[in-house]
């Protein structure tokens, strides 16, 4: 896609018609897969991600198991058909990096000490990429972990803010990410106002950074609310097993 003339028009509308502080249409479904212990499917506009969790289960290879807690494995991967350009098969360096930062974010909220010598495996597959794949992936992974019954301190909600034509905007789409001036993914565990992931590509002044973070927090609290609604909806129809 060629660079559009303007990413924000004179009425303050972005390329997809949104205002600067509007999220894309979001869809969340819990428990979409049968073979995993927990799963979730999340859409942020054109970005579609599925996450699956297995665990606690035996650590493979065994010698990597830790005596006092579980290890958390995370694989963020984009399918070959998720993007228009040719995407190499297997894991690129970018995917290795995002797997790591997502894993570190999930580790901060998961009570790994409950399962010594086990592993909790998180798989994130991006099936269509339109910007914000790591934040959508993290949002989905946190729902999948909760669905699997893994004890957690809080859910994680994430969104990317950016700068286009000098303006700070919430929930970047792919065009804005490619042709804008900055892209800042932010993930939080909102209960204690903790930031669990924070990255920045491009340039922002300290003031823009502060305002961008505040904008991200606003988006995150909306996303957190949608996560809670999606989880309640799935589990409200099933009473737990009686004792």
């Amino acid at each position: 896609m060629e660079k559009p003339e303007r990413l924000i028009d004179e009425n303050g509308r972005r390329v997809d018609g949104r205002r600067f502080d509007e999220l894309r249409p979001i869809k969340m479904e819990i428990g979409v897969l049968d073979k995993s212990d927990g799963s979730a499917y999340v859409e942020f506009g054109g970005t579609k991600v599925i996450a699956a969790v297995f665990g606690p289960r035996e650590a493979h290879p065994r010698h990597l198991a830790l005596p006092d807690r579980a290890i958390l494995n995370c694989r963020y991967h984009m399918t070959s058909f998720s993007v228009e350009e040719r995407k190499p098969l297997g894991m690129t360096r970018r995917e290795v990096e995002l797997s790591k930062v997502i894993r570190e974010a999930l580790e901060t909220v998961t009570f790994l000490e409950e399962f010594p010598r086990a592993s909790i495996d998180v798989y994130i597959e991006v099936i269509q990429a339109d910007g914000g794949t790591r934040t959508t992936g993290l949002t989905a992974a946190s729902l999948a972990l909760a669905d699997a019954g893994i004890p957690m301190a809080d859910l994680i909600a994430a969104v990317a803010v950016g700068k286009v034509n000098g303006q700070l905007v919430l929930d970047l789409c792919d065009i804005e990410d490619k042709y804008g001036e900055a892209d800042m993914p932010v993930a939080m565990a909102p209960r204690f106002n903790s930031i669990v992931l924070l990255q920045l590509n491009g340039r922002m002044t300290p003031d823009e950074f502060r305002r961008g973070l505040a904008l991200a927090q606003k988006g995150i609290s909306e996303i957190y609310k949608l996560q809670r609604e999606a989880l309640k909806k799935k589990f409200s129809s099933i009473p737990p097993t009686e004792t």
């Binding site: 399962f115 859910l155 009686e242």
Partner: protein, 220 residues
């Protein structure tokens, strides 16, 4: 203590449950003097503590649990027992001769009781008789459904045992051994257990399983 949840409300990880940080039980955690939920489930108060009964959870061995395991290793100082999933228990027997006399081999199925579980690993009580299971059908269901299989004061499992005439050993870790008069009876017991596993969350299950069993046994 002030609580922030109601009886049939689904609680989510991170949800504030109470202001009394000292009273946090299973499925919860406490920070800054307050108790929060750690899993999705129903919150309630048990023994003066706030607990969350999760909809889904992995099996966590507790002292006193009776479980079924498979001997996975014989060591000079005891036996290793595979309890399913990633869990391995240890039967510690310091006397080498006693280990030999017990006559347990790798692959033997045993019914044992857990004495301790924690960072030191899962220790199996050797004072309580370690029962070797010689024969039967070994099946596996999700540990979270075991309580429903047993039922209130054993109502469900006793009904299945009575109707099928089978001896059924239930391990809290999800492993079950069935020994019956004929393969038809054993199969019926297995199908009943499968039905409980699939419909554990529904009501009126005991009556429906009873009806299903009667139909199965009649048909032959």
């Amino acid at each position: 203590m002030p609580i922030y949840f109601s009886e049939h409300e689904v609680v989510l990880p991170g949800q504030l449950l109470s202001d009394n940080g000292k009273r946090s039980g299973e499925g919860t955690y406490s920070i800054g003097g307050k108790v929060y939920a750690a899993q999705i489930g129903f919150a309630s108060i048990k023994n003066n503590k706030v607990v969350v009964i999760p909809f889904k959870s992995a099996y966590k061995p507790s002292p006193g649990d009776r479980v079924i395991g498979i001997i996975s290793d014989v060591k000079p100082n005891g036996f290793e027992v595979d309890l399913g999933g990633y869990l391995t228990g240890m039967i510690r027997i310091p006397d080498r001769e006693e280990v030999v006399n017990m006559n347990l081999k790798v692959g033997d199925v045993v019914y044992v009781k857990i004495r301790e579980s924690g960072l030191g690993g899962i220790i199996i009580d050797k004072r309580d008789r370690i029962r070797k299971i010689q024969s039967g059908l070994l099946i596996h269901i999700h540990p979270a459904k075991i309580n429903r299989l047993i039922g209130r004061r054993g109502s469900m499992i006793n009904m299945i045992k009575k109707l099928t005439g089978c001896e059924i050993l239930v391990g809290k870790n999800g492993l079950i051994v069935i020994n019956g008069p004929t393969p038809k009876h054993e199969f019926a017991a297995m199908k009943a257990i499968e039905m409980v596993e699939n419909e554990a969350h529904t009501s009126g299950l005991t009556e429906r399983v009873e009806k299903y069993l009667k139909e199965l046994l009649e048909k032959g």
